[in-house]
């Protein structure tokens, strides 16, 4: 019998707010331990939470992004459990009335469950909660850093629509890219801004009944999710195929050993004793508030990519690069305005501009040459006015001096030499200076022509039209 995997993901992302969820402390990674704390996020006696409005807005924005229903009456609940990293020993979360419900997310994926290179995963809900502190273990004792405690956390719960580790990986990558694009979260994995719980079961292929669910908790890399599933799915299939049963349980992923292992069984599951948070009033968004959130919604990465291909005719690979670097895509769209060769502009933006920016460690905002500059440069090459080699030099000048390409070509005299007479002069000089190579060519070694052509370019300081140089050389040698 053939089996299939059924996967659902709970993705936790830290929201990009200035302050924490319930207090004014900075939501900032990397500060010395317990420096972004106050009585509220330390859970001192007598304090009360106050909801961060921006966190509610980013949650609603995510809801719009995921085509969800935004609740007209969202409330908060207490989830009770003891753990040293929890300041109150309950987490304020949203239990039965989350801020957003339903929806779907579409992403590029080519495999089972996709259509035309696209896959769509249904979203159950996205709800708002608070992050906890971080336990730090020393030789003989442990400490807790509460800088992270109370950072707004959005949990995006997918339906069990995913069928493979590769699909799960693509979903996570695309989802976080979209969240970054919308300004919801920086999704910086290194800083622990994204964490994931994986629910996975297996069943005979074609069956509608779900198998017992295994939850793999606290995954903090996407490659980890992929590897854990690559281990867990075959493990479950082997058990079921051998006539065994998978118990419902929570497992942990051992990154070093590359295996999952039992953390707690269903019987040991926590009873979280949820009840409505009495310190907070239910949240009822008004139209004006909702409209201001809606106005922040920007084009999602997949939509952008599709449009770049359609509108500018650029290769999918280039569109992908631009989509993954939104400011660059924005730059491209402004630079290509009025240009004849949009593919050429994309090529220059990606291969030259981006590379130089990385190399120099500077940003697009530092570029002083006119936004139309790259388009003009491409035009100079396409019209044969400068060689592509000279174009590189022109670009360097643009980058360094902020001038337009026309101005650089003008005052440095970099126009390509396409005058037959001038090129003939260069060619004659090269043939005289390289009799051996000239002899080789005449003796039937065509490669020698390339060498001679190179010498012509060198002699002309790169200004000779390379196509013409080749033709003239050949004519002179054969003649």
């Amino acid at each position: 019998m053939e089996y299939e995997a059924v996967i659902g993901l709970e993705t936790h992302v830290q929201l990009k707010t200035r302050s924490k969820m319930w207090c004014g402390c900075a939501n900032q990674f990397g500060a010395p331990p317990n420096t972004h704390v106050c009585p509220v996020c330390l859970g001192l006696p007598g304090v009360l939470p106050v909801v961060n409005d921006e966190a509610l807005r980013l949650t609603a924005l995510t809801g719009l992004m995921l085509n969800s229903k935004i609740s007209a009456h969202a409330k908060f609940d207490r989830k009770n459990y003891f753990y040293p990293d929890s300041a109150k020993n309950y987490q304020i979360t949203q239990y039965d009335r989350p801020s957003t419900e339903g929806g779907w997310f579409e992403f590029e994926y080519d495999g089972a469950g996709s259509l035309d290179g696209l896959a769509r995963v249904k979203i159950t809900r996205a709800h708002l909660e608070e992050d906890v502190g971080k336990n730090v273990h020393f030789d003989r004792f442990s400490g807790v850093d509460f800088n992270r405690a109370g950072v707004p956390l959005l949990e995006i719960v997918s339906e069990p629509d995913l069928t493979s580790s590769a699909m799960a990986y693509e979903y996570l990558t695309s989802l976080t890219a979209a969240l970054v694009r919308e300004g919801v979260s920086d999704c910086d994995m290194e800083k622990g801004m994204v964490r994931c719980d994986v629910n996975v079961s297996v069943r005979p292929k074609g069956s509608q009944k779900l198998g017992a669910k295994v939850e793999i908790k606290n995954m903090n890399t996407f490659s980890g999710v992929r590897r854990a599933l690559d281990y867990e799915i075959p493990r479950q299939m082997a058990v079921v195929a051998a006539g065994g049963a998978i118990p419902q349980e929570t497992r942990r992923w051992d990154e070093l050993a590359g295996i999952t292992e039992t953390m707690r069984s269903k019987e040991d599951a926590h009873d979280y004793r949820y009840f409505p948070e009495p310190d907070l009033m239910p949240f009822v968004p008004v139209d004006e508030w909702m409209n201001s959130v809606r106005s922040r919604l920007v084009e999602m990465p997949l939509a952008l990519k599709k449009r770049l291909i359609r509108e500018y005719g650029i290769p999918a690979g280039d569109a992908e690069v631009l989509t993954n670097d939104w400011p660059l895509a924005d730059y491209f769209e402004r630079a290509v305005r009025g240009a004849k060769n949009s593919k050429g502009v994309a090529n220059w933006v990606i291969n030259n501009l981006r590379a130089r920016l990385v190399q120099r460690g500077c940003g697009l905002e530092d570029m002083r040459f006119p936004i139309s500059g790259i388009g003009e440069l491409v035009e100079l090459v396409d019209s044969g006015r400068v060689s592509s080699k000279i174009a590189q030099e022109v670009f360097e000048q643009m980058f360094e001096r902020g001038e337009s390409p026309a101005a650089i070509v003008e005052h440095k005299g970099l126009s390509q030499v396409s005058d037959v007479g001038a090129i003939e002069e260069f060619c004659r000089e090269v043939i005289v200076g390289n009799p051996k190579s000239a002899e080789d060519f005449r003796a039937g070694k065509p490669a020698a022509l390339n060498f001679l052509k190179g010498q012509v370019m060198k002699l002309s300081k790169g200004k000779a039209n390379p196509g013409m140089a080749g033709a003239v050389l050949e004519r002179l040698l054969r003649g």
Partner: protein, 488 residues
């Protein structure tokens, strides 16, 4: 005998420069030295800090600051040990907080300091405000200044006893099911539980978040109105406080009850009421009638479920609110092999039996499989109880009843029987469930021994003005509030 004055009398004397803030404070400190060995209302007093505040108040007075700008200028006011006061211990009558010192001020403390008060002392209470006698305090039992073989009521027993015994001019407590009104009644002072949302709870260590409210203890109604006014107002740090302007409560004390309709609750006229309490309250109702108010009967049909409903909701919320006391970040700690063991040992040693009982009960009513039958149902009954009151308030402007079924009981009399103790709150509890305002004021005494009897007045949500007007008119037509206890 400065310490016997009411707060308003004191501020007048200070305004006329007949006495200083330092003298007012010293009169309290002297009275504490004289009587607190018997009454045991205070857990601690930071005299140095109080004297510095009083001296600062005198400087302001000398510089021409008037009580019109700062209505509590130079007035010593003491705090229940459940309110955060920066730099002062905060124990909630419990061992579990150890040597904890609050790093911040409760909003009400800020309000009082802004009004010029000298905020001092930590007043005894039942541990985490759970109790009706202060016998659940981890430190000691406060005694009733009218008869020191009896309890002062609770949980704010220290608040009531200190005001009656003349150890402060007013005190601030909290009321979750009667914790202000019941001890005020048993100690013969005025105690107010404002409407839920009227006073910020920021800095009040939560027992039951949806029921807790902060309020004052004073020696007469005018003082209570003034202090309630100072404490009230929207606070952005408390999302459950309500952005509604605070009227002049002192201005509402017109003495005129003509046209006012007063309700007597049919369901409260049950057995178990002490005959002397019954007689005093009946007399008070007649007196109110004679002042021009009309008295009618009203019904609160779901009253009989109030105590049960209260003990489900209050304990459920408490079980979560008290979870933070785990010995990890602050307070007392009993070490263990792992965090869980540290947690349970700390809590095992740090909490008293009543607190443990309520945490266990609250944990149970929220647990999977029981939530619907207990917590959810209790919330529904709570709505019915609130609706009962709102219906009654369609017909009447205020409701009057006894505050407690009996006068102060003996130390140890009910300590072994939690249910009997819970029932002493039978008249006060539904007010918190409904979120309305309520208060208690003296309406007589038992004959022998002479013990105070309290009259409870319940008002509409944000109906404090009417409540104070009724209380004030009644009080001024009697002399009960001028009686002083033997140690006072």
């Amino acid at each position: 005998m400065l310490h016997r004055l009411t707060l308003s009398e004191l501020t007048q004397r200070i305004a006329r420069r007949e006495c200083s803030a330092v003298e007012a404070l010293e009169s309290c400190l002297a009275q504490i030295d004289r009587v607190d060995g018997q009454v045991k209302a205070f857990l601690s007093v930071d005299r140095e800090d109080a004297r510095a505040q009083a001296a600062a108040a005198d400087k302001e007075i000398a510089a021409g600051r008037s009580s019109a700008e700062k209505p509590l200028l130079g007035v010593p006011v003491a705090l229940k040990d459940v309110l955060a006061h920066k730099g002062q211990p905060l124990n909630c009558g419990s061992r579990i907080l150890g040597k904890f010192v609050s790093p911040y001020d409760a909003t009400v403390v800020t309000h009082m300091k802004d009004a010029g008060a000298v905020v001092f002392g930590r007043l005894n209470m039942d541990e985490f405000a759970m109790g009706s006698s202060t016998e659940n305090s981890a430190f000691h039992t406060t005694l009733n200044p009218w008869d020191t073989t009896r309890i002062p009521g609770g949980s704010s027993g220290g608040c009531a006893a200190s005001v009656s015994a003349g150890e402060c001019f007013a005190s601030i407590g909290s009321d979750t099911g009667g914790s202000i009104r019941q001890p005020a009644a048993l100690c013969g002072c005025v105690g107010v539980k404002p409407t839920y949302g009227r006073v910020s709870r920021f800095g009040l260590v939560a027992f039951a978040s949806s029921l807790d409210q902060i309020g004052p203890f004073t020696r007469d109604v005018r003082d209570a109105a003034l202090l309630t006014q100072v404490l009230s107002g929207y606070d952005r740090r408390d999302s459950t406080s309500i952005p509604q302007a605070v009227p002049s409560y002192v201005g509402s004390l017109t003495g005129d009850l003509r046209g006012m309709k007063i309700g007597l609750v049919k369901e409260f006229m049950v057995g178990g009421l002490d005959p002397e309490v019954d007689a005093a309250v009946t007399a008070a109702v007649r007196q109110i009638q004679s002042l021009g108010a009309e008295v009618v009967e009203v019904s609160l049909p779901h009253s009989e479920y109030a105590v049960a409903t209260y003990y489900i909701i209050a304990t459920a919320e408490a079980s979560a609110n008290l979870a933070r006391f785990d010995g990890i970040r602050y307070g007392a700690r009993v070490d263990g092999a792992d965090p869980m063991e540290l947690n349970s040992r700390t809590r095992g040693a740090g909490f008293g039996p009543e607190v443990k009982r309520r945490i266990i009960l609250g944990t149970y009513v929220l647990s999977s499989g029981y939530y619907d039958a207990y917590y959810l149902r209790a919330q529904k009954v709570r709505t019915l109880i609130r609706n009962d009151f709102l219906n009654a308030f369609e017909k009447v402007d205020a409701i009057v009843s006894p505050t407690t079924p009996t006068a102060a009981f003996k130390v140890g009399e009910k300590a072994a029987d939690p249910l009997q103790m819970y029932l002493s709150d039978i008249f006060t509890i539904s007010c918190n469930l409904a979120g309305i305002c309520g208060m208690s004021l003296p309406c007589g005494f038992t004959a022998s021994p002479k013990l105070p009897i309290g009259l409870q007045i319940l008002g509409k949500p944000f109906g404090e003005e009417t409540m104070f007007r009724l209380a004030h008119a009644y009080e001024q037509s009697t002399g009960w509030h001028r009686e002083r206890c033997p140690v006072g």
